[in-house]
Amino acid sequence: MSGADTVGRAAATPGQPQPYAELGLTSEEYARIGGVLGRRPTDAELAIYSVMWSEHCSYKSSRVHLRQFAESAPPSAALLAGIGQNAGVVDIGQGYAVTFKVESHNHPSYVEPFQGAATGIGGIVRDILAMGARPVAVMDSLRFGPADAPDTRRVLPGVVAGISFYGNCLGLPNIGGELAFDPCYRGNPLVNALCVGVMRHEDLKLAAARGTGNQVILFGSRTGPDGIGGASVLASATFGGSDAAKRPSVQVGDPFMEKLLIECCLDLYAGGLVTGIQDLGAAGVACATTELAAGGGSGMRVDLDVVPLRDPALGPAEILMSESQERMMAVVEPGDVDRFMDVCARWGVLATVIGEVTGTGRLEMTWRGEQVVDIPPASAADEGPVYQRPIQRPAGQDALLADDPAALPRPEGGPELRAALLSLLASPGLADTAWVTEQYDRHVRGNTVLAMGQDAGVIRIDEQTGLGIALATDGNGRFGLLDPYAGAQLALAEAYRNVAATGAVPLAVTNGLNFGSPEDPGVMWQFSEAVRGLADGCAALGVPVTGGNVSFYNQTDETPIHPTPVVGVLGVHADVTRRVPVGLRTEGAPIVLLGRTAAEFGGSAWAQVAHGHCGGRPPQVDLGAEQALAAVLTAAAADGLLEAAHDLSEGGLAIALAECCLDQGLGCQVALQGDLFTQLFSESAARAVVAVRPGSERAFAALAARHGVPVQELGVAGGDSLVVQGSFDIPVDELAAAHTGTLPGIFG
């Protein structure tokens, strides 16, 4: 056969078999397309529907749950754009707005770690750029199988190098993230990237094509055969070709082009040359055209022949589905097209008018002079299938909860407690991450106030006023496994606490939900519980979810990963010079523990490292206590009462104190009451340790009392050892050796 499958031909050949199943559509979904169109789809249309109705683009399994984020969102005057946009936008005052979002690139990073992770950064940066913002920083949240597993040794260095390569080349400081290891991620690493951007309020851009006669411009890289596994099924089924079937699903990133694209877009925005804009991510031109047309409630006509190609053999379905990186699509008034092209030329960015906005309400495309697409765009972009998947609490859940870590043997006496601390500190999940984080440029742009190793990344936004933002991401799959509702709230609480520990006021939330297969009712239960927990938690803390991402199908055979919601919290610093770091720095500064400690070891780092155990109940969630703690931390920072602050999380007080000592190499002496093991290693939430500025002790105590936050005076900073009186002491050098040796020992 030759030529394309045209609209006319589709109407004339209703019975022609099409490979919808290979494209991931069910027969019901395929029938539904026929219903929408009143005929069978053309191959190009089938390509559009198959990608737009994929889980990734349509959220068909998650949508009914994600609604809760909007429905139970706390009233927030700060939200300028919310869920449904490329990324949420938050007002941070002084006329500035911030947009931020997490996105996962788990599967591509397993197939080809370097390019998979690199293009993950590229994709999330374009999402932020599409909102009208200048991207100003990235973060990465990484999870792998056991650190010494062969699989991890292959995947981790590649992932880190890919993030480093792409992010550094864009000139975006990496200001933090996570690194965790657990057997459940073997074969299913989680690579979640976050980008944050800044704009003035009036710069906000939306993905909408409006204004009949406005021109549709595709700019950036050429379109090549990248990531079109699905479309090549189509091509080979239609044309009987074998070449196409071999097309790669790996996309190669070109960060240099993306850097040009960023600067080019910002110049276009500054010139007022863009009325609507959309990044090209998954599903490329198909997604950008349908979403722009649907977003504007307009029609659009596109000429696929003029799309600049890297491979002239691409057919219409392949052009539509190509995931070639570093492309954007803009809607431009006809009178602005010349200036638009001039700006692109200045940055060396290829730009092509590929179509125009029409008043027909249809998305129409031609190829080689024939019509190959004629659909109502909303049917692909917004009206995809929505499923209420079956939900079933897993049978083993009660047994898991009943497997209480209280039964595990515990270290007793100074020497055993000392050894337990050192072994936790050296465990891959708690060890120094410098092997990873030194590969990231944290200094570029000159506005990084706090970065890796601190509780949150802090970026200065305005050099004159000191206005800035803080960002932290957290997630704990073990807590998620034991209780996904509580696990999501604990992730939220930890990120919230981290942001507050630097002195920032928490303002808004993004999330990346990493789960197994939605077709598994047990996974779906985990998912629904996690979403409910996060929505309830956000309502209680008064911070809205502004956007996020769902990644399903993270599993090997029948075994899903632990439910791993990664939560990012954004906070605001009125004056970044008031930020509070982690490290102790003054001899004699009093050290105080805030919050209540109970014996809570379910899913703890200690149970995992010492016994490979994950059972029992995760720590109690008390969001009121989290709020009070954050209020104390932010007020104390604003009043300059603190020298250092560090939240307590994995590994409890023991790890927190060790990290406070390691940051600047200054030790401390503390005296603990009650059961030393519980005091040191419990992971009770809503706690932080602080070093009070000498002279501010009374003011600080009064502040804590006012907010009802329990205070326990532990001791003072100073000396060259971490001393737990009456039990053990560890020279800071020995802590450092344990902490820093692990990852270089494994990864070279």
Binding site: C169, G171, P255, F256, K259, Q439, H443, V444, G446
Partner: protein, 225 residues
């Protein structure tokens, strides 16, 4: 009139804004130069900033070397214009043969962003005059291809003529021969430096203020003229 110092932006330059900020912090006026410019506009000194010009494709600095602005800069530098290349700027100056040697892949084969100690060994250049001989400073090193190499004859010549401007004072972070962190041309007006002094001008955002001396030095050199 304040002294005007140019900062070139190549496609892919990243630390241009930081270099400009450092120039301003030192009291001079930063003036942006574009890679396509064919005129140095009478500037008294020029900085080639860090970044990934042209994506660092092919070799770091290899493509930037042919930018139109370099057609102006190379003769001006040969005629004595103070020029500082930082990181990628250093790589460009080597590729353009304004400085001897070359920069190659770090010994550890990974990009590193790390605060390092550096010893200033030549204070006779317009960029280092405000430092004390052998003064040690803390600055950020952030590069994947920062290992300085040159053939033995060149190295001997550099040592004899005192053209090594700075050496790493602690452990060698990247395998540079002789711990070399920065070199100058024979005349001394062109300096290349792998670490980033522009990221050490404020304790809020960097390891301290030790890097400011490069920018105050050139300001003084210009005023003294």
């Amino acid at each position: 009139m304040t002294a005007r110092v140019g900062v070139i932006t190549f496609p892919g330059s990243l630390d241009d804004a930081d270099a400009a900020r450092a120039v301003a912090r030192a009291g001079a006026e930063p003036v942006p130069l574009w890679h396509g410019d064919r005129d140095l506009r009478g500037l008294a000194a020029v900085i080639l900033p860090g970044g990934f010009s042209y994506g660092d494709y092919l070799r770091c600095g290899a493509i930037a070397r042919f930018a139109p602005v370099m057609g102006e800069l190379v003769p001006a530098a040969r005629a004595g214009l103070p020029v500082l290349g930082i990181c990628n700027g250093f790589q460009i100056l080597c590729e353009a043969h304004l400085l001897p040697g070359a920069l190659t892949r770090n010994a550890g084969l990974r990009f590193i962003d790390r605060v390092v100690r550096v010893r200033i060994e030549d204070t006779r250049t317009p960029w280092t005059a405000d430092y004390a001989q052998d003064q040690e400073i803390s600055v950020v090193l952030k590069s994947g291809e920062g290992a300085y190499v040159a053939d033995p004859a060149t190295l001997a010549r550099l040592a004899a003529a005192g053209q090594v401007v700075a050496r790493y004072a602690g452990a060698n972070p990247n395998g540079s021969v002789g711990d070399i962190a920065g070199v100058r041309n024979e005349a001394g007006n062109v300096v290349g430096l792998m670490p980033h002094p522009e990221h050490a001008i404020d304790a809020l955002t960097g390891p301290g203020t030790d890097g400011l001396g490069f920018f105050t030095s050139v300001l003084r050199a210009m005023v003294d003229q």
